[in-house]
Structure formats: C-alpha cells, structure tokens
C-alpha cells in the first residue's frame, strides 16, 4: 500500500506543477506571493474593486456565499480571494490546497466577467466545502465540479456562446457545458483530451442535474434571485412537505 500511496503522492505533485505553470505566483504550498510594491503598480486595485462589487451585489454570488456559510465555510474576502497575474488566458481558479480562489487580474475584462468568474470558482469552493472532492487524484470528481460550474455560472448562456461565435439553440447549453468542462480540466491537468472527455461523459448525467445550491439553472439574475429566495425559505419548505 506504501507503493500506491507513493504513486498517488507523485501524481498529486505532478498535477500541482501543472497548476503552478498556469498560476505562477502560487508557490507549491500556496500563498499569493504578491509584495506591496507589485500591488501598487499592478491591476490588483482594479481587480479588488470589481471583486468587492460582485460580492456585495451579484445575486448568484450572494446565494453561494449564504450557502457556504450555512455549510460552515463562511467566506472572508481577504483570506479566500487572491488577485494575481496568470499565464495563458485562464480567468481564475480554485486552489483546494489553500482554500483560496485565484482571480486572474490580467485576464478579467469587466464587471460582468468578474461576476461570472467568481460564481464559477465559488461553485468549486462550495463543492469542496460540502463534499469529499478528490481534486488531484480522481479526474471524475474534477470533471463533476467543472460540469456544475459551467452549468450554473452563466458561462454557457446563449449570449456568451453567441459572443464566442458558437451558434446553436436546441440543447446547445449541454454541448457548451461539456466542451467548457473539458477545456477547464485540460487547463489544470496534464491529461489527454480523450481522458478528460471520458471523465465528463461518465459523470455528466449526475452532475448536470446536481444544481445545488440554486435548485435550478440560473439563466439570469431573476432566476438567481428566485433561487436565493427559495434558499432563504428552505426551513419553511422542508418542514411543510
């Protein structure tokens, strides 16, 4: 069993190295690594401003924050968020080893984009909080969380897909969720597209239909507000059915 544990540890270290290439400011053991001088001259202040507005006003995020608090993972802006410069065109990530959401300040374009990235990463954080997710050792678990994040964050809204020049209507949302989940997996794991695709296929049915904490796919802020209203009403709901 020592051999198995050793192999697992080696695989975990290899996956963390891939992640470090995307998020170069993260050292292997975590930490944002951003000094005082660099934050003055970087996009950090813009990123912090956009983040604060998202946390205070966005209905998707407010529901996720509430749900996480209810699960024992109250979110603290200074502790659980970090604005950093990232390689490639990744917008953000969730670092399970430090329980921190990384926001790629050099790639987040505007308030709407920040809203979507924070929602996406909070879905991962919410999964980490409520379940034993083997982020580094089970690609099916990673695939499941990526399917959920693509499904629930607005990543695959009709408007966003049209902006990407992906034209499709009937059931196109599901195609988008599959494709974006695969892309997200490949961005942080050194595996083939076929392995990523197989993992997504295996978990899709279950994870696409797991819409916690929203209870529905929030297509826009109205749906997110209704979902938040339902979450706040849950005690009355479950005690009367």
């Amino acid at each position: 069993m020592a051999g198995a544990a050793g192999a697992q540890q080696q695989q975990q270290q290899q996956q963390q190295r891939v992640a470090c290439q995307v998020f170069p400011e993260r050292r292997a053991q975590g930490g944002s690594g951003q000094g005082l001088l660099s934050s003055v001259f970087s996009n950090d202040q813009g990123c912090q401003r956009l983040l604060l507005k998202t946390l205070e006003t966005n209905p998707y995020v407010k529901l996720l924050l509430d749900a996480m608090k209810h699960s024992g993972c109250a979110v603290n802006k200074e502790r659980h968020f970090s604005c950093e410069d990232c390689n490639g065109n990744v917008s953000g990530g969730f670092d399970a080893s430090t329980s921190q959401i990384v926001l790629c300040q050099n790639n987040i374009r505007n308030q709407a984009h920040m809203n979507r990235v924070v929602t996406h990463e909070l879905v991962h954080a919410f999964d980490h909080c409520r379940a034993h997710v083997n982020w580094f050792t089970d690609v099916r678990h990673l695939a499941c969380s990526e399917v959920r994040a693509a499904n629930l964050s607005g990543d695959c809204s009709l408007v966003n897909e049209i902006f990407r020049l992906h034209f499709g209507l009937k059931r196109h949302h599901q195609t988008c969720v599959r494709d974006r989940a695969i892309l997200s997996i490949l961005a942080v794991r050194n595996i083939s597209k076929e392995v990523a695709q197989k993992a997504v296929d295996e978990v899709f049915e279950s994870c696409f239909n797991d819409q916690e904490p929203f209870g529905r796919i929030p297509h826009n802020k109205t749906y997110a507000r209704y979902a938040h209203r339902d979450f706040q009403n849950r005690d009355r709901y479950y005690s009367n059915i």
Partner: protein, 106 residues
C-alpha cells in the same frame, strides 16, 4: 409533513404565482429550449397556485394534500441521480486556517 395544526404551504402563494409567470414567459421558453430542446411544462405551477389560494381561503385538506404531493415530487426529481462524491459531515478542517505564508510570517 407537519400536522394540520401547524401546517402552511411550503411556499408563500406569491412564490407560486411568480414561478408560474416566469415559466410562461417568452424568456423562459427560450432558455428551456436552449437547455432541454423542448417547451417547458408550466401547468403544475398553476395547479399549485390554485391549491395554495384554496388553502388560504378555505383551509382545504385536499389542497394541502395536493401541494405536499407536488412539492415532494419536485424534491424526488432532484434526488434521482446518485452523487459522484461522498458528502461531508463537517466542513474542511483547514478552511479557516491562515495561509501557510501568513503562518510563517507570524
């Protein structure tokens, strides 16, 4: 289900009305087709709204039964797929701990 003495509809009646209105909107038709490739079914929200109002006005036992049955079916529908992972009994132990770098600084 709580006894009739303490029971009330799982949602306020305005919530059923709001869901029925949203369900029948053009926007929702588009969203639902985009996700599922078919038209949404909104009739159950209308029935639930009617049951809710009937209970409010007449404390109808049939309305109570109908509402409970409808909401239980909704809950069942969300639970029919087995989860990929095991749920936690308590949150991750290190969620609130300081970052490793902060620990070294202290």
């Amino acid at each position: 289900m709580a006894d009739a003495g303490g029971w009330r509809p799982p949602r306020p009646c305005e919530a059923y009305r709001a869901e029925w209105t949203l369900c029948r909107s053009a926007g929702h038709l588009l969203h639902h087709y985009y996700v599922h490739g078919e038209r949404p079914a909104c009739e159950q929200w209308r029935r639930d709204l009617a049951s809710c109002r009937e209970w409010e006005e007449r404390r109808s036992a049939e309305a109570q039964r109908s509402l409970c049955e409808s909401e239980r079916a909704r809950v069942q529908a969300t639970r029919k797929h087995a989860l990929v992972w095991t749920l936690r009994q308590s949150p991750p132990a290190d969620w609130h701990l300081p970052l490793p770098q902060e620990e070294k600084d202290q």
